[in-house]
Symmetry: C2
Subunit: 336 residues, 2 copies
C-alpha cells in the first residue's frame, strides 16, 4: 500500500468496520484526500468497493472510492499511516492488532474505542502501552457524545480529542473538524477513556430501570447519581483537575443513557423487561461493550474499596444472576 | 374552616389547582388525615367534590373526599394551616395571595413554584419576603425532578426540600415521603429556587434545538453546557458550597430538558419548528413558566455582566423576535 498523504501532509488510517469506524471515515472524507481503511475481512472490503457503502453499518453513507485505500492487512495500514485511528469493538482489538510487526516509531495511535480489552481486563490506553509498547505520548483518545447514526445524517456533533501532547490533539482535531463536527481538546487521556467505559455501564443500568418501568423522574435522579459516581471513580483512579460536566463526560453519559440508538441501554432494557442476560445478549446483533466493562470496573472498585452503588448493582444483575427488580429496589434507597 | 390536624400534629394546606398542586395533594394523602386545599374557583371546588378528581389535571387521580377540606378562600386556608404549600403557576401567585390579611406568625410557607413572579420580576422567595413579610426562615422550597404526571402514576420520584431551618425541611419531608416519593433535604433555598427557574429556560432552548432538527448528540452537549452555565449563574448570584450534580439541580434540568411532559420544552419545540412566539404560546393550554423566567434572568445576567450564552440566545428568540435558526447557529460556536 503506497503511503498516500491526506492532503494536509498527514496520512491517516482507520481500523475497524463497525458503525463508529464508518462514521469516522465519513468525517475524514471532509478533510482528507485519501483515507486508509483496514476492514475486518475480504467480504467487507469487496462489498464497500462494489456498493460504495459499508454493507452492514450506516449503509446510507456513500463513499467516493477514490478517497479510500481499503485493506484487510493491519501491517499494511499501519505502515502507510502517521495517524492510526482504532475503532474496532474493544473485544476484537486484541485479535486485530495481534499480527502487528511493523515499526511503530513516530506514529500516533488514536483510540475511538469505548471499552475494556477483555484479554487484559483493562482500558485501551493500558493495553496499547503494555502489549504493543505504544507509550501514552504516542496515543490520543476520541470521545463523544457521538452516535454514529447522527454523523451519518450530518447532524452537528461535538467530539473531544485528548492527548498528552497538545500538538497531537490539535493534529487529530484538524482531521475531524467540519461543518457538522466540532472538536474540543483535552490532555486528560485516561479520564476520558475511563469515563467512556463507565458511561456504558450506567447506560445498561438506565436501560434496566426503563425496562422495569421506572419513569423519567427516576431516570433524571439516576443519571445525576451516575455522574457523581463517575466523578468519584475518576478522582480515585486518576486524579486530575477536571470538570465532569464537560461534554466528554456528562454529555457522553447523557447521549448513551437517554438515546434509543444506544446498544448498552438496549441491553439493559431487555434485561429489565425480563430477558435473561444470556438471551438479551444473544438477541442483539451488535456488541454491548458495557457488559465487559462492568466486570472490570466492578473489580477495580472492589479492590480500591470505592463506593459505586450503581456499578455494583449492574454487576450483580449481569454476573451474579441476581433479580433486576430486587436489586434496583435496593439501589433506590442508596440514591439521592 | 376548622383547623384540622393532619394526623401527625401538623395541619397542612395546598394552594393551587394545576397539575403539580394536584400531585402534591396526592402525595399528602399518603400521610395526612386531612389536607386543606385552596383551589382557583367555585367551579373547580364543585367539580372535585362531585367527581372526586381535579376536572382538568391528573384526572386519573381519585381522592377520598373525607381527606380534603376544599376552599376558594386563601385566608381561610392560611388560618387553618401550619404548613402552606404554594403550587400555583408563578404568574398567578401575586393575585392569589393579594387578599391575604390573616396572621402569618409561626406558619411555614413552602414554595413548589418554579418561576418568576412577573409583578416583582423576581423569584418566589424574594416576593414572599418583600410583599408579605415572610422571612426566609419561615420559608421552604420543594424541588424536583418531578413531573406531576408520574406522581399520578405512583412512579418513584425524588424531591428535595430546602429550608434555612433543618427542622422545617424535616417537617415538610415527613409530610411528603411515601412508597413512591423519596425526599432529600437541603439548606440552599435560593440556589434551589434559581435553578428551578433556570432549568425552564434551558428546557425552552432544548425544545428549540429539537424543533430545528438538532439531534441527540447536540442535545447532550447542550445540556452539559447548560448545567455549567447554571453553576456559573448560581455561584455569582448566591455563592454557597453546592454540587450542581445533585438531583435538585442536574436531575431537575434533565427531566425538564429531555421529557416530553415538559411544557417549556414543548414551547421551544414549536418555536424551533417555525411557529411565532405568540402563536406557540397561544397554542398551549398550560403556562410555560420559562417564558417569564427568560426575561428576568437575562436582565439579572446583563446587569451582573455574566456570560450566559444559552439564556441570552433564548431571550433573543423569545423577546427580540430574532430568527431561531440563525441564533442557534451562533450559539453552537460558543458551546464546547
Amino acid at each position: 500500500m503506497a503511503k498516500k498523504k491526506s492532503g494536509n501532509g498527514i496520512s491517516v488510517g482507520v481500523v475497524g468496520s463497525g458503525s463508529f469506524a464508518t462514521a469516522i471515515v465519513k468525517m475524514l472524507t471532509e478533510n482528507c484526500k485519501t483515507i486508509h481503511w483496514c476492514v475486518r475481512n475480504e467480504f467487507v472490503k469487496g462489498a464497500i468497493e462494489l456498493k460504495k457503502h459499508n454493507p452492514s453499518y450506516l449503509t446510507a453513507v456513500l463513499f467516493n472510492l477514490k478517497q479510500l485505500q481499503i485493506t484487510t492487512d493491519i501491517n499494511e495500514l499501519v505502515s502507510a499511516c502517521d495517524v492510526i485511528i482504532l475503532a474496532t469493538p474493544s473485544i476484537y482489538l486484541g485479535k486485530t492488532l495481534e499480527p502487528l510487526n511493523v515499526d511503530l516509531q513516530g506514529k500516533l495511535f488514536v483510540s475511538a474505542i469505548k471499552g475494556i480489552v477483555p484479554e487484559q481486563n483493562d482500558i485501551v490506553a493500558h493495553f496499547l502501552r503494555e502489549k504493543h509498547n505504544i507509550g501514552f505520548r504516542s496515543q490520543a483518545v476520541i470521545s463523544g457524545p457521538c452516535h454514529a447514526e447522527e454523523v451519518a445524517m450530518e447532524r452537528l456533533s461535538y467530539l473531544t480529542v485528548s492527548a498528552a501532547e497538545e500538538e497531537n490533539a490539535a493534529k487529530v482535531a484538524k482531521l475531524l473538524e467540519s461543518d457538522f463536527i466540532k472538536v474540543n481538546k483535552s490532555s486528560d487521556i485516561l479520564g476520558n477513556e475511563y469515563s467512556a467505559v463507565l458511561k456504558n455501564i450506567y447506560a445498561i443500568g438506565a436501560g434496566i430501570a426503563a425496562g422495569l418501568g421506572y419513569g423519567d423522574n427516576f431516570n433524571a435522579v439516576y443519571v445525576s447519581n451516575a455522574i457523581r459516581e463517575m466523578e468519584l471513580y475518576l478522582d480515585a483512579i486518576y486524579p486530575e483537575p477536571r470538570d465532569v460536566n464537560q461534554s466528554a463526560f456528562l454529555g457522553d453519559l447523557l447521549v448513551t443513557a437517554y438515546s434509543l440508538f444506544s446498544r448498552n441501554r438496549m441491553l439493559g432494557n431487555l434485561i429489565g423487561k425480563g430477558y435473561t442476560v444470556k438471551s438479551a445478549i444473544q438477541s442483539m446483533s451488535m456488541v454491548a461493550e458495557g457488559y465487559y466493562a462492568t466486570k472490570s470496573i466492578y473489580e477495580i472498585g472492589k479492590e480500591r474499596k470505592l463506593k459505586l452503588p450503581i456499578v455494583n448493582t449492574v454487576y450483580e444483575i449481569l454476573y451474579e444472576e441476581k433479580n433486576a427488580e430486587k436489586q434496583f429496589k435496593k439501589l433506590t434507597a442508596k440514591l439521592n
